[in-house]
């Protein structure tokens, strides 16, 4: 297994409370990995620490074998939708073109090929007809697809998505998973925070189960077991039987 993203002994604390403690995890290149765990398990924090968005108290992160600063251009991040200012005066196409920032720099002109790339990315998520809408006028699912299109425009090798299916409609979920599988089939690495235990086996190749610390990881077939879920969710796992069916 080639490792795209390697995390060793990663510890992050907000104020005095540790959010994640000594997490060791390897994310396989060219695979789709789900990060799974209860609310407050530190799943988003793990992604944010990998990206350097929150300071880490201890631990190492290697992306394609290099430190973050050297490989930023190869990473695309789709934050939780809640982090965005929906009233901002920007159109859908402008949002997608934000994905070109590292290419364009401060003053680089937006050429026809850039606009064509943005259009193409919008088309891939089924949002080509909404290019001139203000971003806040879209539904939650449509907004999520636009942010995926922005990530596509980054033409990255590693895609980190924070709850891409939260609050989206079924059509959007299908569209997003299709795009993500397309990325994987093209050799890209996809890591997503995921909540719906029932769809893990259908959507993902590998899982990382965590609750403050890493509990189990590996291919869905071997790591996504009732025992591991029990260890992750403790007594709170009301969905255990359903999740059990998902185990291949």
């Amino acid at each position: 297994m080639t490792v795209a993203l390697s995390v060793r002994g990663l510890t992050v604390a907000y104020a005095q409370n540790p959010a994640i403690t000594a997490v060791d995890a390897d994310f396989a290149a060219g695979a789709m990995t789900a990060i799974i765990g209860p609310n407050g398990a530190g799943k988003s924090t793990l992604l944010r620490a990998v990206l350097g968005l929150v300071p880490r108290r201890a631990g190492e992160v290697a992306i394609f074998g290099a430190p973050l600063a050297r490989v930023r251009g190869r990473i695309a991040y789709v934050p939780q939708r809640a982090s965005v200012d929906w009233d901002f005066p920007t159109r859908v196409t402008d949002v997608v073109q934000m994905g070109l920032y590292r290419q364009l720099g401060l003053l680089g002109r937006v050429h026809r090929r850039h606009r064509a790339l943005a259009e193409d990315c919008l088309a891939r998520v089924g949002m080509a007809d909404y290019a001139t809408r203000q971003i806040g006028q879209l539904s939650g699912g449509q907004q999520q697809r636009v942010f995926l299109a922005r990530a596509l425009a980054q033409e990255a090798d590693l895609y980190l998505l924070d709850e891409p299916f939260a609050g989206v409609d079924a059509a959007t979920e299908t569209a997003i998973i299709g795009v993500l599988k397309g990325l994987r089939d093209a050799g890209r690495t996809v890591v997503a925070v995921h909540h719906d235990l029932a769809t893990v086996a259908g959507y993902f190749d590998r899982v990382l189960l965590m609750n403050g610390r890493a509990i189990a990881q590996g291919p869905v077939a071997t790591a996504f077991t009732p025992d591991a879920l029990q260890a992750t969710y403790g007594g709170r796992l009301a969905l255990a039987p359903t999740a059990g069916q998902g185990v291949a």
């Binding site: 934050p79 009233d87 901002f88 005066p89 920007t90 159109r91 920032y101």
Partner: protein
């Protein structure tokens, strides 16, 4: 014509430049939910200006700009500290810091011998736009006469220079500023120094505010940081056009406000003109009210 050149041209130019500069920066402050910062900065700069005066003993632009910018940055750091250490919400932290700084400035001003210069609280609030006259002008020929031009009020080249700097910085950092304002997490993930940009923005806002404050008083600064951008937001859903609208609204407020202050009371039968600074702020408020009622993008977009 000569009367216009002597009495109205320079106040109009200075008013319009100041208004446009403040509105330009105000767009980003407004979008970052920091609109109150314009208000805060225009208060916070007072101790900076007084300190610079105490140290240098003169009303000079450069040390005052430096003093004001330094105090503004100190205030921003203090706001962050109050927010984090005191676990206070941002608006409250801003309010606590700028009131304290302003009060300190008033005390400092009281204890300083400023009898020889026009540095007092009323001047700080209302400015002296009407007094920025150009008596060296003798006719249209003065506009190309170096001797006459050299005797323009020194506020004019100063606010013009600040306007140029602010426009250049906004142009240069437009893309990362927009990105960091819209989606901070994403901006950080692609390596944009979001915190440094935020500090840069408030520093530029402080410089714009202090140049304006000196020339026209803080009431225009506060109004121009908020009203034209807020009205412009209701006119369009694109950032570039919003900024363009805000500059238009700011210039219209300055010109119309100055004219109305000078001639409006006479039309109504009153004897004296009213404060130009006050009237400019009022006009910008009226423009905002009209935009709220008639602006095409006033239907607040909601998340889906």
């Amino acid at each position: 014509m000569t009367a216009f050149l002597q009495l109205s041209l320079t106040p109009l130019l200075i008013g319009a430049l100041v208004a446009a500069t403040c509105a330009l920066v105000g767009n980003f402050l407004l979008l970052r939910r920091q609109a109150l910062l314009g208000d805060a900065i225009s208060h916070v700069v007072l101790p900076g200006i007084v300190l610079a005066f105490v140290i240098t003993g003169a009303v000079a632009a450069a040390p005052m700009l430096l003093g004001a910018a330094a105090v503004a940055v100190a205030a921003v750091v203090a706001i962050e500290a109050v927010k984090r250490l005191g676990r206070v919400e941002p608006g409250a932290a801003m309010g606590v810091v700028f009131t304290t700084f302003f009060a300190a400035g008033v005390l400092l001003l009281e204890q300083t011998d400023t009898s020889a210069v026009h540095l007092d609280v009323e001047h700080a609030l209302m400015g002296n736009l009407e007094s920025l006259v150009w008596f060296a002008a003798t006719g249209p020929g003065s506009l190309i006469d170096p001797a006459a031009l050299a005797r323009l009020p020194s506020e004019l080249p100063r606010v013009a220079a600040v306007a140029v700097v602010v426009v250049a910085l906004c142009w240069l950092f437009w893309r990362p500023l927009a990105l960091a304002t819209f989606d901070e997490g994403f901006a950080r993930s692609i390596g944009i120094p979001v915190t440094a940009l935020g500090f840069g923005l408030v520093t530029v806002a402080a410089i714009a505010a202090v140049a304006a404050f000196d020339a026209v008083g803080s009431i225009i600064v506060i109004a121009m940081f908020i009203c034209p951008p807020a009205a412009a937001r209701l006119m369009t859903d694109r950032l570039g056009r919003q900024v363009a609208w805000s500059v238009v609204f700011a210039v219209v407020s300055a010109v119309l406000g100055y004219m109305l202050a000078g001639y409006g009371p006479l039309w109504l039968g009153a004897q004296d003109a009213v404060s130009a600074a006050g009237m400019i702020a009022v006009v910008s408020g009226v423009i905002l009210a009209l935009a709220v009622r008639f602006g095409p993008c006033r239907g607040a977009p909601r998340r889906g």
